[in-house]
């Protein structure tokens, strides 16, 4: 299949790539770039494991074709910590025990970050619904909710 030129900014690095139009952004990240922190849980946009942030918005990267992401800024789980410091959301997931097997965790962390960036003042109930696009099978969500609330509080208090 003919490949098309694509320019992506991923975690601050620019990548000029030639990719098949049928490849999803998820496939580009994992197979072409080798950033495997973003996970594939369903490939139908229903589980949220592949959530990344594209131009500030959380998207399921299995539902985006790589070619349509050309020119966009993409942040993946690998790009979240800065200067060796974990992001408050990552820190909160550790402290609350908001992860178990960890497979859904990158997606949850990216979705949480986008939600907190957008509005850190959401109530628990609002975060509960806002995270409805991400599936976790281990935790029963109790500690994930604790994590996002703790991170939102941290972001509020430092901004």
């Amino acid at each position: 299949m003919a490949k098309l030129p694509v320019s992506l900014t991923i975690n601050g690095d620019e990548h000029d790539l030639l990719i098949e139009p049928r490849k999803t952004l998820l496939a580009v990240l994992r197979d072409t770039i080798g950033l495997t922190g973003t996970k594939e849980g369903c490939s139908t946009g229903d589980c949220g494991a592949c959530t990344v942030i594209v131009d500030g918005k959380a998207v399921t990267s299995c539902m985006v074709l790589g070619v349509t992401a050309s020119g966009k800024e993409i942040t993946t789980i690998e790009g979240l910590a800065s200067d060796g410091e974990l992001h408050p959301v990552q820190q909160a997931f550790i402290e609350t025990g908001g992860y178990q097997c960890g497979f859904c965790t990158p997606g949850f962390i990216m979705a949480s970050k986008a939600l907190i960036d957008e509005n850190p003042d959401r109530t628990e109930e609002e975060f509960r619904y806002a995270l409805g696009g991400n599936i976790c099978r281990c935790t029963g969500y109790t500690k994930i909710l604790e994590a996002i609330l703790q991170a939102a509080e941290e972001v509020r208090s430092t901004s």
């Binding site: 922190g37 550790i94 097997c101 960890g102 619904y129 409805g132």
Partner: protein, 767 residues
Amino acid sequence: MSEHSVVGQKVTRVDAVEKVTGAAQYGADVHPAGMLYGKIVRSKQAHANILSIDTSEAEKLPGVRAIITQDDVPSGRRVFATDKVLYLGEPLAAVAATDPDIAEEAAELIKIEYEVLPVVQDVTEAIKPSAPRFHGDDTKDGPNRREISTQIRKLSRDKENDHSDEISKLEAELENYPDEVYYNISAESHSDAGDVEKGFAESDVVVEDTYIIPRVHQTYMEPHVSVASADSSGKITVWASTQGPFAIRSGIAGTLGIPLTQINVIGTTMGGGFGGRFGVIITHIPAVLLSQKTGRPVRVQMTREEEFTDGRPAPGCVIKLKTGATNDGRILAREALAFWDSGSVSGASIGSTIRVRGVYKIPNLKVDAYGVHTNKSGTAAYRAPGAPQAIFAGESQLDEIAERIGMDPVKFRLINMREEGDPVPAGSNEPKVGYKETLEAVADAAGWWDREADENQGWGVAVGDWTNGCGPGGVYVSVHEDGSARIFHGSMDITGTDTAISQIIAEILTVPYESVTIRRGDTDSAPYSTGSGGSVVTFTMGNTAKLAAEDAHRRILELASERLNTNMDDLELKDGAVHVVSAEQPKSISLGELAAYSLSTTGGPIVGKGSFARQASTPALAAQIAKVEVDPGTGRTRVLKLVASQDVGFAINPMAVEGQIEGGTVQGYAWAMMEEMQYDENGNVNPGFVDYRVPTSADLPTVESVIVEVPAPNGPYGAKGVGEPPITPTLATMANAVKDAIGIRITELPIKPEKVVDALKGNGHSA
């Protein structure tokens, strides 16, 4: 204050940073150079004869490197179907290509001609003589015929007396049960204690019902995946997301007929298992065969759709249950007849039907269980395999009895619960377990005793029991010159077990938890370890770790005795250093100094070894209470409160234990209210998350967990396995709460809104 400094504490897990930064390597993250992508070619029919498989078009597709069918399995062991398929999604061939999309395209180009056969998906249909048959001689007698046949056999064996009259009478009696010849039976299991007929006769109240529990998928978030690499010397390396690398090694060796040590299995970080990631599963063998054929590493990864059509989910079942009790609340008898849907192969946790006995003194018990073939994939373990199904029936029916005799459901359970030394029906004697403590704890925490309910609201309670497994394991611990300790073992981390092992080692070596690190070996390097499932890891590996640390502790005191020129009995290891106990001459030496000193001794470095295989484990109880509100218009049930208590023996890491309770309870909630793999004559019809809904954070409120600690005599620090029990009572907890809210008993799961609306309509309510 606790007598321990590291165990019993909420600590950060050892894998915390790698899990929140995307650095943890799961199965599909393994990408050796030159890797090809495999794809399994699957049946598009639920039951059919295979007339032909034509791979010629697929072979021509650029990028295709190999296509294999059963003809490519040198040992002849069945990996792919040849003449017949028994379910939609059954593997027929596999493709390896340079790109995953090419592999998928090639799989579509393989032409398969089918001759479609009749399909049966319902166990109650599959046992009838009219059902299509799957495997040869698979007819079994039902309970009454079985009893009569046993008597006939017994009489026939007595050659000294003439029993021909009795025998012909019994043979005539068999004719009374024509429907009790069951077809398509894959397995059977029977147990009894006392005399149920007598028990029912003495009962004031007898309730009988049929409970239907659906097949559900474990739904670990990482679909099955294996990467295999066969080198030219014949050595095979397999990266697998698995609960048990050693079982995969022996499974591959057995299937391919090659020596065990020719295979090295590397367990990757596991994206959930819940029992579904045991042994050789769908992807391992095709990956190995494709790698052998191409000489390149091959990854075979299942899609979520393949998970639903060809996963190995938890079996559904139909349980006919009858319970008798006295008006003063004593359960006298219980009888179960269960049909478990084992799909195309045998198995299906049928032995767990015995769990209808619960934790109660039931003097008369009879359990007959059958596994039944249908046109579905086979089944596997799912968190306390078989228990949620049996306990759903048992605990639902208990509430019906409690209602008839007008007794509070918690009180009814408390007065029937077994105590230490009581006989377990069809079992041995009960050890000390916190049954009552756990139920009382959840009742207190939930506010059961002064509970209130508005219109359409209801409360439900149930308990579920489970006993952790136990298996072999080995652990090494080394102490280094900087005073740190390094653990080496071969058991897969199942959400926090590496952390528990590290805590135990730190506790015994009296070093900070942060100075202990843990490494897992592959099957080539690590000591044998049992699979991580059956709630075994903390119990087994915890005991193993304890032995290893105690072994190192001995060596440490030996070295200190030499170095300090003091009798070993006068030495104590405390706060990471060995101290002379006598106060007159305060002397001490740090672990780091001892480790450095050890390098120039005859005895050598500090290496502790622990090896453990078996100890009696102690049952655990999970008790739960839910408060719900049912909308009579839409039939939707909203959970207002869900409280879960559990006797965990001792919580080595309370945060991880809470996580297990919360997660298991939500899985139980989902089985009760949402999840169901649906099948028709074409096979599974809901192979995705849109039609097979699992809970999200929006579906239910926070689960409140309550930890109860009644120590297990043989557990490390009294710990019991905690992973499985929390799923066992939730199905009944929810059904009992819905019953309390709407006054109607729903006996078929899941309790979806439409079922509630139908139930209300049937009772004269208008929806």
